[in-house]
Symmetry: C3
Subunit: 341 residues, 3 copies
């Protein structure tokens, strides 16, 4: 494990060094668990209580916390961001690395183009016409459909499924269990027979550069045109993205969100966990949707939107519900009183 001097790291992130530039940093740790050789950080106020007693060799923090720091420090405006950069330096970006080279147990169609600098795991399947560029890592059991293109430096973890025609941009990271390009929910009711008729789904999924997609997330192919995930979008685990959805650059979406078909989400949006977004609507740039919120109409003004109900003690909640369900009576009485006033 390669170490770095604190001075080198401070310079790397343009931080102000408060302490000895020559101490060596070998690993990362939380304030609470850090030991000698570790660098830690203070970003969430909730953890400030661990600063005075930390065992870290150095801490990344804001000016205001320096007085409480018992050890060397790098003083910056945004400790979490700087921690991210330093951690990347120390441990690398991607935590899992598949063995380099092409596994003899992989099945690769003769018409696929595989860069000699790509790595392909055991029992991976690469179908006809697929293109795997240099520096790409394909995990074991990954399925890469026909005419799929995976661009430079992308990392596809084990057990990913990429249906035909999917494009994965440079340096994008696709975690295990992700399915990209499955058919969208396109069905038409034939009233004469009472049966659903499948609407063929012929679009593709286009994933930009520097996108990360969490485990078991699903992204459907477009019904006709393409489903598009722009550069630097970050999707957490177990998200469902419907056909023909567009997600704008640098938008981040937390786990368990569902986005129905043909909806367009702008750039730099933040969508909280468990939110549900209806189909055929638009969210402009810089919209924030809080957790478990249901969005049924377009949001045309940046800002924060909510509808999730926070938990209460069950007995109290039941009372609230009962009142809610009796509002009509109150309102009517109220109105009558107003009329009489």
């Amino acid at each position: 494990m390669k170490g770095f001097t604190l001075g080198y790291l401070a310079k790397h992130v343009n931080g102000r060094l408060a302490g000895d530039p020559d101490v060596e940093i070998k690993w990362i740790a939380t304030l609470k668990d850090a030991r000698s050789g570790d660098i830690s950080f203070l970003a969430n106020r909730q953890y400030a209580r661990y600063l005075p007693g930390t065992g870290a060799t150095a801490v990344i923090l804001q000016e205001k916390d320096l007085a409480n720091c018992p050890t060397h420090a790098i003083v910056v405006d945004d400790p979490y961001l700087v921690y991210a950069k330093i951690a990347q330096k120390i441990v690398g970006v991607v935590s899992e690395q598949v063995p380099s080279g092409v596994s003899e147990q992989a099945y690769i169609d003769s018409s696929a183009e595989i860069s000699p600098q790509a790595s392909i795991g055991a029992f991976a399947v690469i179908c006809a016409g697929a293109v795997i560029e240099s520096g790409v890592q394909i995990g074991a059991h990954a399925y890469v459909g026909r005419e799929v293109r995976i661009m430079k430096g992308a990392n596809v973890y084990p057990h990913v499924t990429l249906y035909d025609g999917t494009i994965i941009g440079q340096r994008s990271i696709i975690h295990s269990g992700v399915v990209i390009g499955s058919d969208g929910f396109g069905i038409a009711m034939d009233r004469s027979s009472g049966r659903w008729i499948k609407v063929p789904q012929v679009g593709r999924v286009l994933i930009g550069n520097d996108v990360e997609i969490g485990a078991n997330t699903t992204i459907d192919r477009g019904a006709i045109g393409d489903t598009v995930i722009e550069d630097n979008v970050k999707l957490d685990n177990q998200i469902q993205v419907g056909h023909n959805v567009q997600i704008g650059e640098s938008t981040a979406i937390a786990g368990c969100v569902g986005i129905a078909g043909s909806t367009k989400i702008g750039k730099h949006c933040l969508i909280g966990g468990g939110a549900g977004i209806a189909g055929h609507i638009e969210l402009v740039d810089n919209v924030v949707v809080s957790g478990m919120t249901m969005v049924t109409k377009s949001i045309l003004k940046p800002g924060m939107y909510s509808s999730g109900m926070p938990a209460r003690e069950n007995r109290q909640w039941r009372k609230n519900l009962a009142r809610f369900n009796n509002l009509e009576r109150i309102l009517k009485t109220q109105t009558k009183q107003e009329d009489h006033d």
Copy 2:
């Protein structure tokens, strides 16, 4: 790519041709993106503004929109349904096709029965006693457990897991990442030890004909009897179906819905995305549940049911919540006033 004359297509769907029967249609497209040789359709009013300027060679539409159509048309009552039928004609039902024949990289137990007209992908596993009928396509890495039966023309995509005893009906389509037949959530608390005891799950999952199941959906085997998905049911992605659930014919369920154990859903129901349905209840035929609704009791009358709260600007939402939590005071005051009136 095979083309069709517009006259042939109009006849195929019993539509009224408004234009030249001899123009050739080669592909499908949206009104907005269509080019020469494409057929498009107008179903959702939201997209009517693209009709006058469409580049399509022909459009499927209702009588009332014909005047705004700049090109050839097929006039019908239900453009979306007719589009589905024509699109199936032009591009086929299933967008991904696995190579025909049985891959030499598949592992097939000697006691499995595989039709010579079935196709099995690389690294698929077919266990003892499984039966794969003619026209079935099994994708790469699919796992077909013991005594599983997959009936004529069904399509099982890569990375599907079918536990022992699962039955898949004719022409059904199972997308990647789907798990069918996993153990249901059956646990009993042993109060003497404070530990959970597993309840063995010995039922199966029976999937009917013409069912489609979206990516990463899970369907648990019955605890004792079977979990049953009837003919023509359509399940979107990331749905969870608990043990011993029954879903009636032609019911359609959108993404991210959870259905707890032993619940029975009728025929021709529509369940919106993100809805949650409690266990041991019944929904009769023709029930519509809107998105993100929580169903906790049986629904014995057809109709539409809801409980999802639509998003509002966050500051306003917080005010609503605060009021909601103060309702008791208002109600009490109100009641007192009424008493005094």
Copy 3:
């Protein structure tokens, strides 16, 4: 199929036998569907109507139901728990069994340690430094990363993905499609460029003994320290567990729940389906959260907490919503009236 005498089974569970100890029990069934040779149980009152007409040879029930039982019975305090124990005796704990021995189609790194009493399915991948203890069953297509340890008697179903460093305790059961150890949602916004920077995720996931994890559930590795699932925890399908979450002993969580990062859930908690739990909070022991509830703050007192809204007929629901959105007006008027009183 091995049978047991009713007397043997009654003794096994310390139940009071009401009937003939020598009748033979061969299988389990519901009250409604049971036939000769089956043992059934009555736990949920909803099914009491099936007791008088049951075809079962014996029924596990409480004293109060004995009078309505038409056949032999085992009388106990907790019929569901006793049923679980008897069903385990009759059908075994785990319903699917992979063939014993190590498949020749598996790929096993030469540095992995595999017990001669372990079983490994076709196309499984076992990476460098992994340890597979005795009695472990690894399903087909399972991916076992580097330095993973799977302890005695654990059962890993087909298509499970275990990222590097994951520990699975004794007798734990991991269902298909589960992903353990994927990167958590760690991203920092670099405001100078407007782009997200990935925060490396270097912790592990530690799963205790006797844990069961349902199909397609995902558990992220810790960002720095570890994500910890303690002994006897039961997770249903499609649950998302964020990085550095801790779940205490014997807690049970129903399907489709999302738990955000760094949250600590106590022992013996019950979390209902579809609930969402925010990050960086704590739930103490013995907390019950009902279905579809949103928990945004720490819960420091045992008890039941709720916020899910039950479904109502759509027209009535819309009225409720309208009133809810007009509460401010009512409140203001109310307050004025109070001022004038």
